[in-house]
């Protein structure tokens, strides 16, 4: 009887995917179709590939992404294993810390890396790979972590008693159990590296371009919107395909939800050194940035900070920091309010249907997969007629922010939603609790980790103004990343130190938000 009811419930929640579908349609699919049909010149579908700059961009995108992904996954897997199974000082903070770079504006991070790296390495593939690791390691930690965290200690013990050495346990138990999560993390990491824009712009040498950069040049500088759109669509299809192939879920996999205490085993020396090195990797650039914000040539000075905080007025620099914070904050909150329920609802719709999971993964990644330039332009020409003239709507930017955060909200919600044992739902229903009540009293508390991680991601991504919205016209007052960019566009000591101060504050604020929300939740 209960089983039958459960089956009915599974079928009837499919509609929960509708808000997510609407969001992606409105922000990406429809605009792209409109753009494609209005600007693409059929000849360009083939001729755009004949440009040597396009081919070079494609080749470069591919190999730097593969290299970056390989290193990120390698280091990420090692870090994730220890983070998900050992208790050590600062563990939860470390997990949150590792997520922060992911959502930082590249303007700020670029400044930090340049401050820290020796001159010779400023334009090198090493710098690019390092920066990619910095940004994307959290993908591995957050995708594979929950999976490994849920492995019962005793399962490992049983492997030991069956004669498996640590290496064999790793190979035959731990990796197979993490395989899907690792595939999934690899796909997402590859995608982030492939579509990397800011990092390549700042740390790549002149002439180095990824496909996204090439799309930008075609669209903006050369006025070749047709070619740019063709490239953007091709890239989008490639990414979606990668996701479809790599995000398979196996039906035999059970993710057991355990609010289990992490093993009290202590870390041995080698992992400790590894984490120290990793922690340094994340904090040293920030310290370099702090130093740079207070240093002018040979003297130390707090002028940059004073101007930033409004304590000191500077002729030629005039911005309202508090208003910028308000604007950024407003966008971030609204974006999160849209992204969270939409994402969690969609996860519910999928949680028991493995086959649709990879298809939806590929679908929600679209707003991220399409070049920001193209999305910006597409939205511009799509929503420009009454009564659908949304171009001037204040809601547009948070909406696009939400669309971009959506895959991350879903990704963090999935293991949690799936881990809620069905017996809990059955038990609640036998207590005559209707589905809403059941949800609010039983499931919502269990969803807290998903909600907080999702919230942290959407807030931080919005604050850093990720991707697509960089190309939308902003009508409210300036946001913080824009203020930083225009400060760096002026010559002189003070704009520079003020810009660095602003970058540091943005980074630290974002970090604090992510860390606080995250720590409260767990793992």
């Amino acid at each position: 009887m209960v089983g039958h009811r459960l089956e009915m419930k599974i079928r009837s929640v499919r509609f929960l995917v509708i808000p997510a579908a609407i969001l992606v349609f409105v922000t990406a699919v429809i605009p792209l179709i409109v753009l494609a049909t209005s600007v693409i010149d059929k000849a360009d579908i083939f001729s755009v590939w004949t440009h040597s700059s396009v081919r070079r961009a494609l080749v470069f995108s591919l190999w730097q992404a593969l290299l970056s992904t390989a290193f990120t996954i390698f280091l990420g897997v090692i870090a994730t294993w220890h983070l998900s199974r050992y208790q050590f000082f600062g563990r939860r903070t470390f997990i949150a810390l590792v997520t922060v770079p992911f959502v930082l504006p590249t303007v700020a991070v670029g400044a930090a890396f340049i401050a820290v790296l020796p001159k010779a390495l400023h334009h090198s593939i090493l710098a690019i790979v390092l920066a990619h690791i910095f940004f994307n390691i959290s993908i591995v930690v957050r995708t594979v972590g929950p999976r490994w965290n849920s492995i019962d200690d005793q399962l490992i013990d049983s492997a030991r008693t069956l004669g498996a050495s640590p290496l064999q346990t790793w190979r035959h138990v731990i990796m197979p159990l993490g395989k899907n999560a690792i595939f999934s993390a690899t796909a997402l990491t590859f995608f982030m590296c492939f579509t990397s824009y800011g990092i390549i712009t700042i740390l790549g040498g002149p002439g180095l371009a990824t496909v996204d950069i090439e799309i930008y040049r075609r669209a903006v500088q050369l006025g070749d919107l047709s070619g740019a759109t063709v490239l953007a669509i091709a890239q989008m299809l490639l990414i979606a395909l990668t996701f479809l192939l790599w995000s398979r879920s196996r039906s035999t996999e059970l993710v057991l939800f355990r609010a289990q205490a992490i093993s009290h085993r202590r870390l041995s020396l080698a992992p400790k050194c590894f984490f120290l090195a990793l922690a340094a990797f994340f904090t040293v650039p920030l310290l370099a940035l702090l130093a740079a914000s207070m240093r002018t040539r040979d003297t130390w000075s707090l002028t940059g900070w004073k101007v930033f905080l409004g304590i000191q007025k500077q002729r030629g620099i005039d911005f309202n920091m508090w208003q910028a914070i308000q604007t950024s904050g407003k966008y971030a909150l609204i974006a999160s309010c849209i992204a969270l329920p939409t994402g969690i609802a969609a996860t519910y719709a999928l949680s028991n249907r493995r086959s649709s999971h990879s298809r939806l993964s590929a679908f929600v990644i679209l707003p991220l997969a399409i070049s920001p330039v193209v999305i910006g332009l597409a939205i511009l020409i799509t929503y420009d007629f009454q009564p659908f003239d949304f171009r001037s709507s204040w809601l547009l930017i948070p909406l696009v922010h939400a669309a971009i955060a959506l895959p991350f909200v879903m990704r963090s919600a999935l293991p949690v939603v799936e881990g809620i044992p069905n017996d809990l739902r059955c038990a609640a229903s036998t207590l005559r609790a209707g589905p809403w009540r059941r949800f609010l009293t039983v499931e919502l508390p269990l969803l807290k980790p998903a909600i907080s991680t999702g919230l942290a991601f959407s807030l931080a991504m919005s604050l850093g103004e990720f991707g697509a919205t960089s190309f939308l016209t902003r009508r409210e007052s300036r946001t913080i990343p824009i203020i930083i960019a225009s400060l760096f566009g002026k010559a002189g000591d003070i704009p520079r130190t003020t810009g660095m101060a602003a970058s540091l504050v943005l980074i630290v604020t974002t970090a604090m938000i992510v860390i606080t929300i995250d720590r409260k939740s767990h793992t």
């Binding site: 399962l155 013990d157 492997a159 030991r160 008693t161 004669g163 498996a164 050495s165």
Partner: protein
């Protein structure tokens, strides 16, 4: 191949869980340690298996002191209370696991695997996935899996706890039969004297 537990003590923080425990399990026999819950029975098994280090005392198996020997080299099998079957492997592969780790030759391994599955009465469901098994079936797979690599010693943690009473007695007798048929040296912990009496040859009470 006897097991000697020599003056094992273990404390968690300042709470003493085991205090100078000594015990001997003669070769080929089954000994039960009976004690109420929470007294340290599982801890004892974990120490013997090498998953925990005792504060003092030693484990001697077949004349060899196991103090510095890591778990995977001790040749001590264990059946866990909640079975701990590998979710990503089917029944057959679960049982094969220990044999694969020992790099046993394929033909010999598969023969042993089949023999054990037959011994526990599960030959028909060899290819089934482990999340569809009943309580009793899971326990039997766990047992077959632990026995497959022919361990010198087999540890059983509350093997019948949690199974419904009908299954209980039946499985208890089966367990006794299987252990006897394979001449396994075994140590089991339980809170039920009744269970201990059916399965084991000697009983030791723990304070």
């Amino acid at each position: 191949m006897s097991l000697i537990i020599d003056n094992i003590s273990f404390s968690y923080g300042d709470r003493a869980i085991l205090n100078k425990l000594s015990l001997e399990v003669p070769t080929g026999t089954t000994t039960a340690v009976v004690a109420p819950s929470g007294v340290g029975k599982s801890t004892l098994l974990r120490i013997i298996a090498g998953l925990l280090t005792p504060s003092s005392g030693s484990i001697i198996l077949d004349g060899k002191n196991l103090s510095l020997v890591p778990t995977h080299l001790r040749s001590i099998g264990m059946v866990f209370q909640d079975n701990q079957l590998f979710p990503h492997l089917n029944v057959y592969d679960n049982v094969m696991f220990g044999l694969r780790m020992a790099k046993t030759e394929k033909k010999i391994a598969s023969e042993r695997c089949r023999d054990l599955l037959e011994l526990v009465g599960l030959s028909q469901i060899a290819k089934q996935s482990v999340d569809t098994l009943s309580g009793g079936e899971s326990k039997r797979v766990a047992l077959a899996r632990a026995l497959a690599p022919s361990p010198i010693l087999l540890l059983l943690d509350e093997p019948l706890t949690g199974l419904d009473s009908e299954l209980h007695d039946r499985l208890a007798h089966e367990l006794q039969r299987i252990l006897h048929a394979t001449s396994t040296t075994a140590l089991l912990v339980t809170h039920s004297i009744h269970e201990a009496e059916i399965i084991s040859d000697s009983i030791h009470h723990l304070q």
